[in-house]
Amino acid sequence: MNKWTTPLAAISVLLVLALELAAGRSTGITLLVAMMFWASLCQGLIALAAAAELSGARWIRPIRDRVLLTYPLLLMFPALFLIFSARLDFYPWLDHGTAWLEPAFFVIRNTASLVLVAVAAHFFVRRTLAGAPGARALAVLYLLAFVVCQSLMAFDWVMSFEYPWINTLFGPYFFIEAFYLGICATALMLARATWRDRAAFQPTLKDAASLLFGFSLLWAGQLFAQYLTIWYGNIPEEVGYVYKRLAVSPLWEIAVFTLFAFFFIPFGVMVSKAAKLSPPVVGAVAVLVCLGYVLERLLFLLPDGPVHPVVLPLELALVGLPVVWATLVVRQVKTPA
């Protein structure tokens, strides 16, 4: 983390705004995908640190400060969401809304939750780095904000496209994925660090890799719990959502890919101890999971609204730039004394 991160973030937000204005309505809900991915990743990073803080985990120590110092990135997302709110008209409920699905309320509560997360992260990180008391309380606070924000992402950003379809596990599924992303980002940072200083970081890398392994299993469990229930219940209104995404190409292929990216490959690879210790392998798996996340978002959203094939990579890159900078490029960590 250094002084460039914040300006970079500001610039990329402005560029995104420019892009959206330039490309106009044709961008559809592209921004939603880019936003959701990077927001979940950043929130997940801090969430991982917070969870480690609460469970008094020692393993994360070597990398902790670098992870924590990504917190200012979280401020990008409320801004980006406000930009996206110009595209609400892609939501089917916009004309005949309900008490909950009401445009103004929708924008306010989602922006607020993103701000809340950023603020909670800010205080939690400051306290923790300063080693001041009450850091744990703030960690709890952050995690609560994180859960609320991710649940809203699931239920508002994505699920409401298919109103009145409901899936109660959607929220938990989202924040587990966000946490998973956070672990991936940490693993990437560790892979890079281990590359430079094997002795100092390898044990930590191994632990992060084990977490990847564990979460691949947990993720599979969550997915299975949803699919099994819907498949078994066989209620048309409920099955429709899955059916639409499994019956047609290329969505079907995407679904299979995400299954491999999130579960089979991480699980299969991370079984072996050697793989857990090798920075390139862990890094590759982490990247794969991130890719899986993006594609899964496409799986969710493609049937609901237009995603611009050119704008999507651009926006992913633009929003990603400061994040990559803060996590991977920046070298020295200046921990405030």
């Binding site: 819907i230 498949w231 078994y232 066989n234 209620i235 048309p236 209104e237 099955v239 429709g240 899955v242 059916y243 639409k244 499994l246």
Partner: protein, 600 residues
């Protein structure tokens, strides 16, 4: 309204004519029928029931007076099972010097007799009847009498000094009739068309004189004949208590009903024990809240009357079915009624025709499961809700055909009746009342089947949702997961004391305790038909199989058949615009189609 109708029909009767102004109503109805030209066309006096050989309540009342005046020594009573509401006749019997009862089962009336001469059941003896004018039918016994009994005819002819020979006596009277009756058992003559000459002017005058001054009464008591026991004559048949009254869904015990609003206004609640009348005419009944009743109307089935006397209209000689000014006060006690329906409001639930739902927002039906396939047959049922009047004959038929256990009042209070087929009444907020016969829907994607751990229920290749009683271990999961709750569980071993065990249908196995059971479209009948078809190397023809319920339905509301046969009546009905399926949006693909004009 009459103008708009294509072939208007005006009918009067029941409560309409049973009230003080009843005669006026009857006359007005006659006038209307006459003016609409319905007489002789829709209204056929020729083949009406021959009431001309019957007395009126007034006659009975007169008999009572004569008895009390000791004008009668020996009194023979036969074929009277209830004197509910008949003014003071029953008590008067005691005044007779020597009342003799001829009956096949004991009712309160016969308990007053000095001696009882047991007569055989109608199925045990020769006899004849004239159900309606011009139709004479000969009744022949179907089995030898179980007990040492004598037919009425024997008894009477012996007393008359002749010899006991009911059969010969009958045949002497039937022999002169033109032949043919010994083959088909009945003799029919088309009676001369009776078109009574109606004199409008006089009728009108009579009507004006008859119509009484409208008297406002605080509340009315309507005495309706009970659907199950009529005037109480069938009270001794246990099955008729097991089957609930279709509107109130009360099975055991008499009750008085009033609309929920009225009850609320009067601070009464369900199962309150109410008292009415006084002295000998005292009546104590638990309260049932009946949706659909107009305010301030109390309604009791006639068989609940007990000794309460009904006033008699001198001009018609008939007992009034409507009484004014009868008050009910709470006794502060409660008597829980077995009300089998949890609620009668299904608004918006996709159950009644007015609220049926599309299977899916989009037109194609989504499923992740393979499509349903059936070989040769997909048995299905079509129930015409516009024809069904809730008479519950189908329910009775189902009980008898399938050896369904009778569990009794105590179990009914626990919600443990075992009927496979039931009449569900609905009084939705925005829809006229619906009577919905509910039975196992033989779903294609049946939720019950998949959850059974031991394959005790599975989908056979004819689309039936079969139940293997021997295999069932009684997890009850299937019924939990049935959206229609159409399955029944044997909580205990239920046995039928002799001679009721004679009622068992040998084609259907009895179920022991701990086993789930359900409707399978009378699979035993389907099997029989298929065996026949197999012998003749063909498929079962349409109409060859008829489940007990369809066979019994007097309105012909139930149609059974093979959905895969495009020529079958059921597939025609299922594909008609009137058809819908209950809870269709659950995607269970039921094989029971409900028909209603309200659907389209």
């Amino acid at each position: 309204m009459l103008k708009s109708a294509r072939r208007p029909l005006v009918l009067a009767g029941g409560a309409a004519t049973g009230q003080p102004g009843g005669l006026a109503v009857a006359l007005l109805a006659g006038l209307l029928q006459w003016t609409l030209g319905a007489v002789g066309d829709a209204v056929d006096f020729a083949s009406a029931y021959s009431f001309d050989r019957l007395g009126t309540c007034a006659d009975l009342a007169r008999l009572g007076q004569r008895l009390r005046a000791k004008e009668i020594g020996v009194l023979f009573i036969s074929r009277i099972h209830s004197l509910a509401g008949q003014p003071g006749v029953a008590p008067a019997i005691d005044a007779a010097a020597f009342p003799v009862g001829l009956t096949d089962f004991l009712t309160p009336v016969y308990q007053r007799c000095r001696i009882i001469l047991p007569v055989p059941h109608a199925l045990e003896a020769w006899g004849d009847a004239e159900p309606r004018r011009g139709l004479l039918s000969l009744i022949r016994p179907v089995f030898r009498p179980f007990h040492d009994t004598r037919p009425e005819l024997d008894i009477l002819s012996t007393l008359a000094g002749g010899q006991a020979a009911a059969k010969s006596f009958l045949f002497d009277r039937w022999r002169p009739l033109p032949g043919g009756w010994w083959q088909n058992g009945f003799h029919q003559t088309r009676p001369a068309g009776v078109t009574p000459a109606l004199r409008p002017a006089e009728t009108l005058a009579a009507w004006q004189s008859a119509s009484p001054a409208a008297q406002p009464a605080p509340l009315w008591l309507v005495v309706a004949p009970s659907l199950r026991t009529y005037d109480g004559r069938s009270r001794a048949i246990p099955l008729l208590h097991e089957i609930p009254d279709p509107l109130s869904t009360v099975s055991y015990g008499p009750f008085v009903s009033v609309s929920p609003e009225t009850a609320r206004r009067r601070g009464l609640s369900a199962n309150d024990l109410l008292r009415s009348g006084n002295g000998a005419n005292r009546l104590e009944l638990p309260l049932h809240l009946q949706a659909g009743l107009p305010p301030d109307v109390w309604q009791i089935p006639v068989d609940a009357l007990g000794d309460l006397e009904l006033p008699i209209d001198a001009r018609t000689g008939e007992a009034a079915a409507v009484m004014a000014g009868l008050t009910w006060e709470s006794t502060g006690l409660h008597r829980k009624l077995p009300v089998l329906s949890g609620s009668t409001d299904a608004t918006g639930r996709g159950i009644t025709p007015g609220h049926r739902k599309e299977a899916h927002h989009h037109h194609e039906r989504h499923t992740l499961l393979p499509p349903l396939e059936h070989k040769h047959y997909r048995w299905a049922l079509a129930i015409d809700l516009d024809r069904c009047n809730g008479c519950s004959a189908c329910v009775a038929a189902c009980y008898l055909e399938n050896n369904i256990a009778i569990t009794g009042p105590a179990e009914h209070l626990h919600g443990r009746e075992l009927s496979w087929l039931r009449i569900q009444p609905y009084f939705n907020r925005d829809e006229p009342p619906v009577l919905l016969p509910m039975l196992c829907q033989q779903c294609g994607y049946a939720p019950c089947e998949t959850v059974c751990p031991v394959y005790a229920t599975y989908h056979n290749e004819e689309g039936l949702n079969v139940q293997v009683y021997n295999r069932c271990v009684g997890t009850r999961y299937c019924n939990n997961n049935c959206p229609y709750k159409a399955r029944r569980f044997n909580w205990f071993d239920y046995d039928r004391p002799a001679p009721l065990n004679l009622l068992f249908n040998p084609e259907v196995s009895r179920r022991p305790k701990g086993v789930m059971e359900k409707c399978t479209f009378c699979i035993q009948r389907i099997r029989a038909a298929k065996d026949l078809a197999k012998d003749q190397a063909r498929l079962v023809r349409d109409g060859e199989v008829t489940p007990a319920c369809a066979q019994t339905c007097p309105a012909g509301a139930i149609t059974f058949g093979n959905l895969l046969d495009p020529g079958s009546r059921v597939s025609a009905l299922a594909h008609s615009g009137r058809a819908y399926r209950v809870l269709e949006e659950l995607g269970t693909e039921p094989a029971v189609y409900y028909l209603s004009k309200r659907v389209k």
